[in-house]
Assembly symmetry: C5
Homo-oligomer: 350 residues x 5
């Protein structure tokens, strides 16, 4: 459950980490490139990044492990980030959003991962600061989802080395959203598997699985819906930080977001469908059980009454002394049974 | 299920086919016409189409089989199509959309077909590039839904030979949307058949059929709803590629799309109605079964008790020795039965 | 069910009738009037109407029976109607809509009738072409809903003879919408009757009736909702064909439409309420049945066990030989029964 | 049920009363005031009010009993009211609305009253015509909800005597909306009482009461929702009839309306909650009944079988001749019963 | 339940307290500060605050206990507050709202507290008047939620001493909204606890708890949703009372509000999920009970019939005299039982 912050009473802009610490030691990975050259190094001192702001390169400053308040404060101070933004970066329970400032754009995203063992979604927050020639990215831990992007920068082919910080930020968002589709695919598979199970061997644990699926869908919706607004605002923004050349890519990204939302909504409807199917199946089973009980009971209860009659001990019961009385009664009961069976067949219960 | 792409980590604009290959060998069908003349040929070399761009004809370049990355790249290169558009053409898991570029308009549609055997909808993607004097259409396979359109061009009557590429694109979209109505009609028939079955011989397999119907409706909605936006944007666009003469036709198309949406939504409500009817019918049946059981049990259980009494072996049971004891008991039980029956009739259970 | 057209593959603007033919021979009723004079005649030749366009009268040209493609084509040709409009007139499966052209306004309406025998709604399509001094109305058959309007024109009192073609069209729409209220009233009565039945003698056929009611409501919604848009657009239109004097009447019409929509939506909620009530009543009945069964069974099953005991044939069963054993057992069973009854009363089952 | 009008075929603007006549003889109550003086009288002749229009007073002309077509026509004629407005005044089945005319504003409101005996809402329509120095109010009967307002005018303190006709109309609407809160409070009490009953002594009649409550809520919604639009339009209107000084009061009124809507919507959700609670309680009860039946049956059915065995009359049944056979069987059956009880306790059914 | 006011018939602007009196003696806490100095005192005389309006300080005048009409009137008189605003301050049943006046902004908020004993939410109303250099806050009782804010003012570090009355009001709203998250967290914990209980030891009281939870959620929604509008309007307002420097903080506040709404909506969906899970669990239990009953009954009813047969007293029943008849019957019944068990196992009921 995405719990809200508990910082009540603190001054707004206080830099306090809110969330679970997911890595031990924060690290900073730097890639600084222009079409001609590429500098790449790792450090844990924020000061090492300060010079980059004024060099003729695009600098990607990737902070891994966001729990260090001093680190964030130092970077924020040098890059002149508003204290409310720094507070948001330190709070890993944000909803996706975008905020425009004079010198930079602030973005919050959620990166999702499907944990195949527990069949649940894990989510991590990524904050981006898009400046004129730099992008600061704050991740909760050492994740590798951006490795292919780094490889593309290193190879230096493609578009990325020739474009600005806005394209770099776009490329990161693109990776994050592409990742959503992996999660959606995993959920889709899981759902199909549930459906098959439900149609072939319905079983009571499915109910809990459907309930968990519903909660996962809620989580997905909370990550994806606000993202639509974020990407749309970025695309329509008039900030000079977003260049005209990057817009077609942002529109493409918007498209992917819509596609993800579409899929999430479809999954939601399908989950409801699964639940209704489960409940109906349950109703069918109760009905089956009832039918068997009714057939057995309605055939044998009258017969038991009949045999009860001839078990009475009255002195004067003429039938008991008839030669074929016993066999006549057996035959009579046979006829009753056949009549009942015919009745059930007519009612389509057999 | 409409699965999302799985190209995570690739550079945006990478040309990689995503989907199921539905034909072996891609082919290109060309129709180039103006009011006076018509040229028609088939090729598999993209170069054969390059000259058409500069001739005084309307050229319809229809690519069948979209899985060849080289073919799409060659065409894209010559017609100067943005690489993101080419990427989308190669990805058959798009949602319907429209994008404006300086020299052309890019459109994605879904064509639906009702498979009467499996009672499911099959869908195929068609991408259109509308240029000043050409239309590139990318289909997943050799389909024949455009055959009547080709016939109209060949006959050369009607409006089509005298209008531009925008009208050609409109005509293709019109065929595609008309096709939706065939699917809707088939689903409508299927639904009516289910309804009749439900009202006359309710049967448990209907539940699964209703569930499948719901999924088909979800699929339809995903194809039809975004289309509304596409056609509406095309109608309201200020692109010079869309001529004033074509607008009434686009408005008509918009109308058809609304009609299709209306029908899809009505079907959706009707499917829910069917499901509720099914569940209520099931409830009624359980109730029926219960009633029969209750009537049989409440009549015979007391009677069995009575005969049990006179089956006891006490030494001192005066009734057993009465002359007419047996017949008195039989009569008494007859009266109880009649009383019960009267009670049930009063309760309207019989 | 309002089925879509099946004209796939035809050129847009092809004049082909789609629907059920509801009359044999098409006829044209003409009323041409100005404040001073009134000309009224019936013909079956479209040519007879051609002169009216240029006379100083308001001409109401009422075509009854819309299945004749030649008739529609001839009129369309003379009054210079766009071929897409003519196509729509011939297609009786349109949704209500309005379209503006330079010289005329095109309107599609649905007229509803409540068939009291089958308890269903019948619907018919009416298309209007509002020109500067004429109104063409296309009806599916010889209906009499406009008779009071004709009477008002003949009497020549009131406003109608002094106003233009826009007021005539308004008056026709007013009659059509007033008709909706008759249908709504009939449905309301039907619903009230169902409700009473449900509260007093609940019965299983009500379920099907509720289901039919829901479908009727869907049909109503499909006719009424788009109408709101039509009337609202007419009211806000800047077409010179709509005079300022007519606007208050259109606003009034809009009001009536909103009232109709309100009522339809209320009916919808009430139908859902009825269904829930039905299901709950059913649940109550099942519960009742269960209770009777349980009471009978829980009283007699233990008693039957007791009498079974004394029906055993063991050699050594001392109770059997007691003088008052039989009566003691009877008394004991009486006590058990009373205890059970007390238990049920405490549980509020009796 | 709020039935629609049945005036089909009449000319628009025909003055015909639609509704139930709620008073015998219409009467007109006049209050004409300015800061200095107050004139108050009752008449049944419309002519008595004609002079007021030109005097330097604010005139409140309150017509009680709206069924007299002549009275409404006479007033309408003198105050130059559009015939469509007069038609609406005579039709007591309007939805709340506002219409602007050059010289006056026309308003329709619903006044609600909670009938504590039948636990239903009664509604009455009030139409207001706000002119430059007069307000015409049309009520269906002699109601006293405006008595406190009259008292305030008579006392001559407060604001009312110094403000214009717009403030008078506002004051009347304020009274009407305050009245809604009385109704809402009564419904709230009723709902709380139902809830308590449901949680403590659930009983089957609650179902019908919940159903009635739902219908009352529908009625309330139909009265309150359109009112929001009316008050909002009045507040934002640019009519010179609404003075700047009155605006804060209208905004306050708008606020009250929102509050009423909020409460209605909350009541709606709570009613649904009550119904779900009822159904769940019912489910619980069925379950209880089932459990008792099952426990009794599963304990005694096997025992009855056992005693049946030893009631058989085979010649060779060794157990029957054992000395302690009878007591052994009794003990055996005691053990079975204890085993069953232990099983039920483990299953948490006891 | 948030009951509406019952002041029907009073003149608008009448100062009458509506609500529950939550404190005995009203008190006024004053903090007057500028960057250099801080004056802090408590009084119960409104006159003591009058001078502050004209001093060069930011004055926070915090009225605790809002039930004193004279106190509110005296303050209102001096600070020239509109009488409708004073009426709203005295009415503790407002919905959150904002109103702009020439010299001040009027705000109503709800402060929520989670009562951990009764597991319910308590709510209190706070009204703010934001003037050029003062903030009047009206609380229902002596609450301590603003203590950390007072501490921050006293310490004089941070931003607050250097900013204006708008920032003070913002800081108060920030505290109030942060408080919502505490409530949300408590509800989240409660919900998780319920869920665990439901999955492990489902029990019938959970139903009432879910019902209470739903009502709490309704209450939360009524407090949080209108707040969004309030904060958004404050952020977008063009009032000179809101300085540019404060805007980023208001935007941050808006963000928190959205986050709270998101969480409330998620909780709502989760509560529905819980209820469905409960109902399904109940269905499962009924099914279990039915199965046990059916298995017992279907095994023993036929057997009881068989033993009944051989309990009959016919003279001529050859089986009774067979040497091994008794044992043959026992064996036969054993076979029937095994057959039944095999049948149940095949049906997956065991």
């Amino acid at each position: 459950m995405n719990r809200p912050r508990s910082k009540t009473g603190l001054s707004p802009g206080s830099l306090i980490f809110v969330g679970h610490r997911k890595t031990d030691q924060p690290a900073i990975d730097i890639m600084a490139y222009n079409p001609g050259e590429l500098k790449e190094f790792r450090t844990d001192k924020p000061e090492d990044t300060f010079a980059l702001k004024d060099e003729a390169v695009i600098a990607w400053i990737d902070i891994k492990g966001v729990h260090s308040e001093e680190l964030v404060a130092a970077l924020g101070n040098h890059f002149q980030i508003h204290s409310l933004v720094l507070e948001d970066i330190l709070n890993t329970r944000q909803r996706p959003k975008i905020e425009y400032y004079d010198d930079y754009i602030f973005l919050v995203l959620k990166v999702l991962n499907w944990n195949d063992k527990s069949k649940t979604i894990e989510n991590e927050q990524i904050s981006l600061i898009i400046g004129p020639n730099y992008v600061l990215s704050f991740q909760e831990r050492e994740a590798d989802i951006f490795d292919p992007l780094r490889a593309r920068i290193r190879k230096g082919k493609g578009r990325i080395r020739t474009m600005g910080s806005d394209y770099l930020a776009y490329a990161m968002m693109d990776v994050a959203i592409d990742n959503y589709f992996l999660v959606l695919e995993a959920i889709g598979d899981h759902m199909e598997m549930l459906e098959e199970k439900l149609l072939i061997h319905p079983d009571r644990n499915i109910l809990k699985e459907i309930y968990v699926l519903k909660r996962e869908n809620l989580l997905l919706r909370k990550a994806v819906w606000p993202l639509r607004e974020v990407v749309s605002q970025l695309d329509r923004s008039e900030s000079p930080l977003i260049k005209k050349k990057t817009r077609p890519f942002l529109r493409d990204l918007y498209d992917h977001t819509l596609h993800a939302i579409d899929t999430v909504e479809t999954y939601r409807d399908m989950t409801s469908g699964l639940q209704e199917l489960y409940l109906s199946t349950l109703g069918n089973k109760t009905n089956d059980v009832m039918k068997v009980l009714t057939i057995i009971a309605t055939i044998f209860i009258p017969l038991t009454f009949v045999v009860g009659i001839y078990g009475m001990n009255f002195d004067n019961m003429p039938e008991l002394h008839w030669q074929w009385g016993y066999f006549a009664v057996l035959g009579f009961m046979g006829l009753i049974s056949l009549g009942m069976l015919w009745f059930f067949r007519r009612k389509k219960w057999l």
